[in-house]
């Protein structure tokens, strides 16, 4: 086995390193900067160059070495390379080769392109460790332009009626992706501090985002009639959001595909947009790896593994501590989707 599953996380014995470990280890290879993948406390980190600024922002002064996409590193007896996962800017799948046998850890990934992330690249391998957050046939995503049109139409209508559009989106990745879809001619874009902090990090590394106004405590909302307000989902129902009245709420997430979830969140509008692969995307990605063995982690793992086995793969479920596993652990408020 090139990779094995240990209590600390996914482990490579040949190179003596872990991938996205959830307990402190000596050497951690990190797929991307979301909190459930890039945890504090490791002695040494390795990640892609574009993932580094966010990791420094979140984890502070860590020992972080960077690597370019496609560049091969030798670690012990293992050859390691990082390949775009299309999830958020800087996100990677990690390829590990030992003695001619190739394993790939997908991290979180999305096959459809967006306007910010490096587009997903399929990587051939023998064994593939895949997330399956949305591993059910009910999850299919419309293309990004269609969602952009929905969000802009919603915003424009609200702006015409003189009401604020409060849109909940996870502050790293989703919020910026939503911003990349907005039509700034409709009105001003206001941002919650959590979103604006990430904006600053990503702008500094050269990503183009529309102009935004940070909602500081002394900001007068009246100066920005018809504004769209981007905030982490948890802030929508809080006193922070109360200054934007009259207002209507929206939520950008793959879970919005399900009416039940949308109604439980009691938001006025749900926009179906996710940084994870949908059902066709998952199946196509796995097929393109050419892998025989598939290990599925967070998501609808039991169901997805059964379907893969039925389709001729040798699939099994691997328990991990990555979040986004269920709707009910509130992945939308305090963890990446």
């Amino acid at each position: 086995m090139v990779l094995s599953f240990r209590p600390q996380g996914i482990y490579c014995e040949a190179g003596d390193f872990f991938i996205d470990p959830w307990k402190p280890v000596d050497r951690a290879l990190i797929t991307h900067g979301h909190a459930d993948h890039a945890r504090p406390g490791h002695a040494r980190y390795l990640a892609t160059g574009p993932a580094a600024p966010v990791m420094h922002h979140r984890l502070g002064d860590i020992t972080l070495e960077t690597v370019a996409y496609g560049e091969t590193r030798r670690i012990g007896d293992a050859s390691v390379s990082f390949h775009p996962a299309g999830h958020v800017p800087g996100s990677a799948q990690i390829r590990v080769e030992v003695g001619g046998e190739v394993w790939v850890v997908s991290g979180d990934f999305k096959t459809a392109p967006d306007r910010l992330s490096e587009p997903f690249e399929p990587v051939r391998c023998h064994s593939f460790i895949s997330e399956c957050t949305f591993g059910l046939p009910v999850f299919t995503w419309a293309d990004e332009d269609a969602v952009a049109a929905q969000i802009n139409a919603w915003w424009a209508e609200n702006a015409a009626n003189g009401i604020f559009s409060l849109l909940g989106a996870y502050s790293l990745g989703k919020a910026q992706r939503v911003m990349s879809l907005l039509d700034p001619s409709i009105g001003p874009i206001l941002t919650h501090g959590a979103v604006e902090n990430t904006n600053a990090v990503l702008r500094a590394q050269g990503l183009e985002l529309p102009d935004t106004v940070h909602v500081s405590p002394d900001l007068d909302p009246k100066v920005f009639p018809g504004a769209l307000v981007l905030a982490p989902p948890g802030a929508l129902g809080s006193s922070w959001a109360r200054r934007f009245r009259p207002g209507t709420t929206g939520f950008a997430s793959g879970w919005m595909r399900l009416r039940g979830v949308r109604r439980r969140r009691a938001v006025d509008r749900g926009f179906v947009i996710s940084d994870h692969a949908d059902w066709p995307g998952l199946n196509a990605a796995i097929k393109e790896t050419g892998a025989e063995n598939v290990f599925v982690t967070h998501g609808y793992t039991d169901i997805f593994a059964r379907r893969l086995n039925e389709s001729g793969y040798n699939a099994q479920v691997v328990p991990t501590e990555f979040t986004g596993e269920t709707l009910d652990d509130e992945p939308m408020t305090d963890g990446p989707e």
């Binding site: 059910l136 046939p137 009910v138 999850f139 299919t140 595909r257 399900l258 009416r259 039940g260 979830v261 109604r263 439980r264 009691a266 006025d268 509008r269 609808y300 169901i303 059964r306 379907r307 039925e310 269920t326 709707l327 009910d328 652990d329 509130e330």
Partner: protein, 530 residues
């Protein structure tokens, strides 16, 4: 269908009632008459007869989506709604349609006489020309059930807004035994003579629960009190030498309660009475579960007629000699009711629910404490001068129920909810202690906050001992206070009891399992209150 889908989507996308009313009113302003009629019918629970079984729909949807049936079935509970699951798994349409709602409904109903092959072809063809949202609406038409938070009151308000007609009058027009086949928009909503249907009930006047002390109601002499019975609220209508019995859920129940036909022998034609249908032991109401045996049956076997005969405990008079009395003060309606019922023989299937005399709120409170002995669940307090309102209006009618019975029980099984609660564990089975054993005795679904449901859901996932299909056996660790309205002996339950309206009153974080109540406690409650 595009207009109706847009309406459905707009209604579904908002939680604000004012927006819902506006959207409905707008629809009533623009839609063709036949579509409007169907819209009113659908939102008031009058759905087209199911032309295709849901089993077939699942098979066809899975086949069309290119997925095995098991995968469809696994997806369904996660989505929580069958019509929606189908809409979501199907591939995108190859073309578009723009036909009226009523046209689609007519097409659906015509399928009833076709064979399965023809039905399948028609349904697949329909799916192939609809967006996901249109499919959802179409599937809802197929499977029945449009529960999207449109109350009768809300729809009536929108109709009033769109037509400029009086809300109460419209509410009355929408009552009763009509379908889009038997009326037109014109006769239902607009024609002057709307009272032609003899069976039509009046909209029920509904009470609010009394939350403050009764002293806040002011002078006791302004009020009349009566027992609040635990039966089925119903309207008994005697018109045209015939009789009709309606439930508050607006179900025509005449045939289920044949003994009420004899009311015609005692009460003059042109009378409408509001009261409680209860099973009667000759001197008092029987526990609700006696009546329950009667509810599900359309035809009643003789033994059941003998074991659980029903009567109406009457408390209001809405029509006398064919004249609508609803604007008359309650005290006067009540006096007229007593005049009609005063001369009835003992064996009449109709009795007055007594007006309870009280001089002060204190005496009424003492009376309320004896409600269980009277087989009542509390008191009704009604303002003597009040009209018979349409629907729920605050201020004139109050229900003052007894505090529920409670017992501390251990959660042992959990199951996921549906719809809004899909993917949350919300349906639980509770047990009481019996030595070292746990004996299940009730299920409960409601009473916790969303935050508590999320918390218990996370816990259930980590503490599942065994799975039985959708049901999970969990570690016996959490104690909940279960509140309920009544307890009765039951041979169908292992514990030997069944509860009325069980719900979770509190999550007793402070109580270990060893301090939960026992089967002995439950039996004592049965002896005392059963």
């Amino acid at each position: 269908m595009k207009q109706f889908t847009a309406l459905y989507t707009a209604l579904d996308q908002t939680t604000k009632t004012s927006v819902k009313v506006t959207e409905l009113a707008r629809y009533f302003g623009i839609a063709p008459e036949e579509d409007k009629l169907w819209c009113v019918a659908l939102f008031s629970g009058r759905r087209p007869k199911r032309a295709v079984t849901t089993t077939k729909l699942r098979e066809w949807a899975a086949e069309r989506a290119g997925i095995p049936l098991w995968l469809f079935e696994e997806s369904y509970p996660i989505v929580g709604d069958l019509a929606e699951t189908i809409a979501l798994v199907l591939p995108e349409a190859s073309r578009d349609q723009d036909e009226d709602l009523s046209t689609w409904i007519a097409r659906l109903r015509a399928l009833g006489v076709e064979d399965d092959a023809a039905r399948k072809a028609a349904v697949l063809e329909a799916w192939d020309q609809m967006s996901a949202q249109e499919r959802l609406v179409f599937n809802k038409l197929l499977t029945g059930g449009f529960r999207i938070g449109i109350s009768r009151k809300l729809m009536t308000r929108a109709l009033a807004q769109a037509t400029g007609r009086d809300e109460a009058e419209l509410a009355h027009r929408l009552m009763g035994d009509w379908t889009p086949d038997t009326v037109s928009w014109e006769t239902l909503i607009e024609a002057e003579d709307a009272g032609a249907d003899l069976s039509r009930p009046y909209p029920f006047c509904l009470a609010y629960g009394l939350e403050d002390a009764p002293e806040t109601l002011g002078d006791p002499s302004d009020w009349l009190a009566e027992w609040k019975w635990d039966g089925i609220r119903g309207q008994l209508i005697l018109r045209g030498a015939d009789h009709f019995v309606w439930s508050r859920g607006e179900e025509l129940m005449t045939d289920r309660f044949p003994e009420l036909a004899r009311a015609r022998d005692f009460v003059p034609d042109g009378t409408v009475i509001d009261g409680e249908i209860v099973a009667w032991d000759g001197s008092a109401p029987m526990p609700f579960n006696a009546l329950q045996k009667r509810i599900g049956r359309k035809t009643v076997p003789k033994t059941l007629l003998k074991d659980a005969p029903v009567i109406v405990l009457a408390y209001d008079l809405l029509e006398e000699n064919g004249v609508d009395l609803r604007e008359m003060p309650f005290a006067e309606r009540r006096a007229r009711l007593d005049t009609i019922l005063g001369t009835l023989p003992e064996d009449a299937p109709l009795r007055a629910s007594s007006v309870l005399p009280f001089k002060s709120w204190k005496t009424l409170a003492d009376l309320r404490d004896t409600a269980r002995e009277e087989r009542a669940e509390g008191l009704m307090i009604k303002r003597a001068s009040s009209p018979y309102h349409t629907g729920r209006k605050k201020g004139d009618w109050w229900k003052w129920k007894l505090d529920p019975l409670t017992i501390d029980a251990v959660m042992i099984y959990a199951q996921q909810g549906h719809g809004r609660r899909a993917n949350l564990f919300t349906d639980f089975t509770f047990a009481v202690r019996d030595g070292n054993e746990l004996v299940p005795f009730t299920k409960a679904y409601s009473g916790l906050t969303d935050a508590e449901f999320r918390k218990i859901t996370a816990w259930v996932r980590k503490n599942t001992l065994q799975r039985f299909g959708p049901v999970r056996q969990v570690r016996a660790e959490h104690v909940f206070e279960i509140a309920f309205e009544g307890i009765a002996e039951s041979t169908r339950h292992k514990s030997g009891v069944s509860l009325r309206f069980p719900r979770m009153k509190r999550w007793r974080h402070d109580k270990p399992v060893q301090e939960a109540n026992t089967i002995e406690d439950l039996r004592q409650m049965l002896a005392q209150y059963g």
